[in-house]
């Protein structure tokens, strides 16, 4: 009997041990992705970039701080309901961060973050006001909000027109996905229209009509806006570019927020030459970090990405996203002295993030993007972006770095954050300590 009991105890200990070791020796990073559905065309390269960077860290460095990353994708299909299902599925596994990759999913998760102690990284999307760390201590949206993006587009347009004051009396068209994402910059656009005296023309496109936009572009043809701005995603973008070509809209005056890929423009052929988008990072593979990914992940068949997609706009966007995650985890390890950090630690890691030029070089990203820093109050950075122009095969940088209009954005962000907290009764006051010096 004793022997049996001892054997049972031994067996229990032996079987339980690996689980405990696994929990100690890995950091769980779920990736909400969409490789399927109507938005899969945009979601797939981002998913590949995110996954491959983290896999590369596992292959090259054995993870972060000697702890392997447990990477798990959950397919959301860019659907808020599925995104919430993904969240509930990964929550018990102790995620250190979630990346919703959808403004709709982000908006639904924001109230949960503080309760579940899981930080949200909504990189350059989501709720613009969540940049306010004092109101949203668990949400991070670097390096820019959609409002920053709109302000930079208008600054660029203003520069083309000869100055922002020259926008007075101009007509600016805004074609957008008629969902949370596309509507996000509308209040800010209204404000800027008042400030600079231009007229806005809105062209909403429902998700169901993304590939059926001829009516919207007939309106564009009638209204003849001086410039067109696009906040699109998925199939909306290539269709909009094709329709713009079809009605002969001058491509040099068509500029988008940072989401269109090379493939989105290529489909429209030569007519798409001149189409412009914002960006804040390189769109090629000539960086040590990308070379490492190619060598250690892609060449070894551990990536789902086609080789030729590595280094494209959206693939590199995914890499950038995962770099943010990795840096937050590293910071968290430094701050706490723990190897297997948790969500609360990683939140602190985000707030102390300071990726300067020297750090970018260490990361193999020298020249890949600009330096940035987050603080307890500023979870965004509001970094400059540049304009890139499609040349028929790839995007080429055609402007200097453009700073966002922080003087316009910040007061509105503060007011919006305050309004959010007031609207959501019982919104908690920040109690989280601040590590940033």
């Amino acid at each position: 009997m004793l022997r049996k009991t001892l054997f049972a105890m031994l067996a229990t200990t032996t079987l339980a041990a690996p689980a405990a070791v696994r929990a100690e020796d890995s950091i769980f990073v779920p990736l909400f992705t969409y490789r399927t559905g109507a938005f899969g065309g945009s979601g797939t390269p981002i998913a590949d970039g995110m996954h491959d960077y983290l896999s590369m860290l596992n292959e090259r460095d054995g993870g972060i701080g000697g702890v392997k990353l447990a990477i798990e994708e959950c397919e959301t299909g860019y659907d808020t309901k599925k995104g919430l299902e993904c969240y509930e599925a990964v929550k018990p596994k102790g995620p250190v961060v979630v990346n919703p990759w959808s403004t709709g999913i982000t908006l639904s998760l924001i109230p949960k973050a503080a309760v579940d102690k899981i930080p949200i990284l909504s990189m350059a999307y989501g709720l613009s006001a969540s940049a306010q760390g004092d109101t949203f201590p668990w949400v991070f949206n670097p390096p820019d909000t959609y409002w920053d993006g709109m302000s930079m587009i208008l600054k660029y347009i203003g520069a083309q027109a000869g100055g922002l004051d020259k926008l007075k009396g101009k007509k600016i068209g805004y074609i957008y996905l008629d969902a949370g994402f596309g509507k996000e910059p509308l209040p800010f656009l209204d404000q800027l229209a008042k400030d600079y005296g231009f007229e806005t023309k809105l062209y909403p496109v429902a998700a169901a009509e993304m590939q059926n936009q001829s009516a919207q572009w007939l309106n564009v043809r009638r209204d003849r806006p001086d410039y067109m701005i696009m906040y699109g995603w998925g199939a909306l973008q290539p269709t909009a570019i094709k329709e713009a070509v079809k009605i002969g809209y001058p491509m040099e005056k068509f500029i988008s927020i940072w989401w269109p890929s090379e493939a989105d423009a290529k489909g429209a052929g030569e007519g798409a030459v001149g189409f412009k988008t914002l960006n804040w990072h390189a769109a090629n593979a000539d960086f040590p970090v990308i070379k490492d990914i190619q060598k250690l992940v892609v060449e070894k068949g551990k990536s789902q990405s086609p080789k030729e997609a590595v280094g494209t706009v959206l693939y590199n966007r995914g890499v950038y996203n995962s770099m943010l995650i990795a840096e937050a985890i590293r910071n968290a390890q430094k701050l706490t002295g723990k190897k297997a950090v948790n969500g609360e630690d990683v939140r602190r890691g985000f707030e102390t993030m300071n990726v300067d030029a020297a750090r970018l070089k260490e990361l193999g990203m020298d020249g890949f993007t600009g330096a940035f820093k987050l603080t307890c109050a500023d979870h965004n950075g509001h970094r400059p972006t540049f304009v890139q122009r499609f040349d028929g095969t790839k995007y080429v940088k055609v402007s200097d770095w453009i700073e966002p209009m922080t003087d316009k954005v910040m007061p509105l962000l503060e007011a919006d954050a305050k309004a959010y907290a007031e609207k959501n009764a019982g919104w908690p006051k920040r109690t989280e300590a601040c590590d940033a010096k």
Binding site: T36, T44, P204, Q211, A215, R222, K242
Partner: protein, 319 residues
């Protein structure tokens, strides 16, 4: 108040008269869209007539068929051969549907068959994404002999631009509709099909093979789906979001009736032209974006007065 009434009832017509080129352009865009809606609706009508099933999978069949063609082309198969192989795949799909879904569910309530087409939808989505991935694909228009560019006509006080691909889409849709009408009315199989549509038991009693008819009908619907998918894909991309457009066939069917080929055509044109005119002339009054629901509103309005649709069979039940 007067201003609002003016904007609703007068201003759109003033605009039409003031810029007839834009009116003609809008009508043209609506016509092309309508013909494609009609083709999608035809796929539904074919299957509904022969088996009484509302085939929820028609939208994804359109995507799956076009993806098969484009996917094969991307793998190095010449475009015309890829087209033929895609037709072959649609035939195999028709056989599989008949064997695995329709035959085992024969004599089951219609709702069971309807739910089975739901299942088929998700199977096709899964298989399609597994084989071809989720990224949008470009239709090799030049390799398929489809034209590019536009005819710019200076008329009606301005410019009317007719995309060659749209002309081709309208022509192909018209030819397919005419061919199907002849097939239904003039051929032996067409007559058998109509017999099955009228009464399964009576058709069986005169020796018509129900199983064979089902395969033919699903195959024909598959070919229609392939043509629609390619034509719509050539105007934008072939992606899974195209299946949502297929839902526009619902108001078309409500308008035209679930069993009428001419109804599908007329319904498609009413919806296609109606939504474009609505979005262009009345959409700006409410901030735009009304084309996503206008078609359903038109169909609902029709339902109030003609529940069986414009050309649908009037249901008279004796009690």
């Amino acid at each position: 108040m007067m201003h609002l009434l003016y904007q609703i009832f007068i201003d759109p017509f003033v605009q039409m008269a003031g810029a007839p080129d834009l009116l003609v352009q809008t009508l043209w865009e609506g016509f092309v869209g309508g013909m494609l809606y009609a083709l999608i609706a035809l796929g539904f009508v074919l299957i509904f007539k022969a088996s009484g099933v509302f085939n929820f999978a028609q939208g994804i069949m359109m995507v799956f068929a076009a993806l098969t063609m484009v996917g094969l082309y991307e793998k190095g198969v010449p475009a015309p051969l890829a087209l033929l192989l895609a037709i072959g795949v649609m035939y195999l799909l028709a056989v599989a549907v008949e064997r695995l879904i329709l035959r085992p569910l024969v004599n089951q309530p219609d709702i069971m068959l309807f739910m089975a087409t739901f299942g088929l939808t998700y199977v096709l989505i899964g298989v399609g994404e597994l084989i071809f991935g989720g990224s949008p694909k470009e239709v090799p228009t030049a390799q398929l002999g489809l034209p590019k560019g536009a005819y710019d006509i200076h008329a009606f006080g301005g410019l009317v631009s007719l995309q060659k691909i749209d002309i081709a889409a309208a022509l192909i849709a018209s030819i397919m509709v005419a061919a199907l009408a002849v097939f239904f009315q003039k051929t032996r199989i067409g007559r058998a099909l109509r017999a099955v549509a009228d009464d399964h038991q009576a058709a069986l009693s005169v020796g018509i093979s129900l199983n064979q008819i089902w395969v033919i009908v699903w195959f024909t619907a598959g070919v229609v789906a392939l043509a629609t998918g390619i034509m719509w894909g050539a105007r934008s991309d072939v992606s899974f979001s195209l299946q949502v457009i297929a839902l526009k066939a619902l108001p078309v069917l409500i308008l035209g009736g679930f069993t009428s080929v001419p109804g599908a055509i007329v319904g498609g044109l009413i919806i296609g032209i109606g939504e474009k005119l609505g979005e262009f002339y009345w959409g700006p009054l409410v901030g735009g974006g009304i084309d996503s629901w206008l078609a359903y509103a038109i169909a609902l309005a029709f339902l109030l007065f003609k529940p069986e649709g414009l050309f649908g069979e009037k249901i008279i039940e004796r009690i």
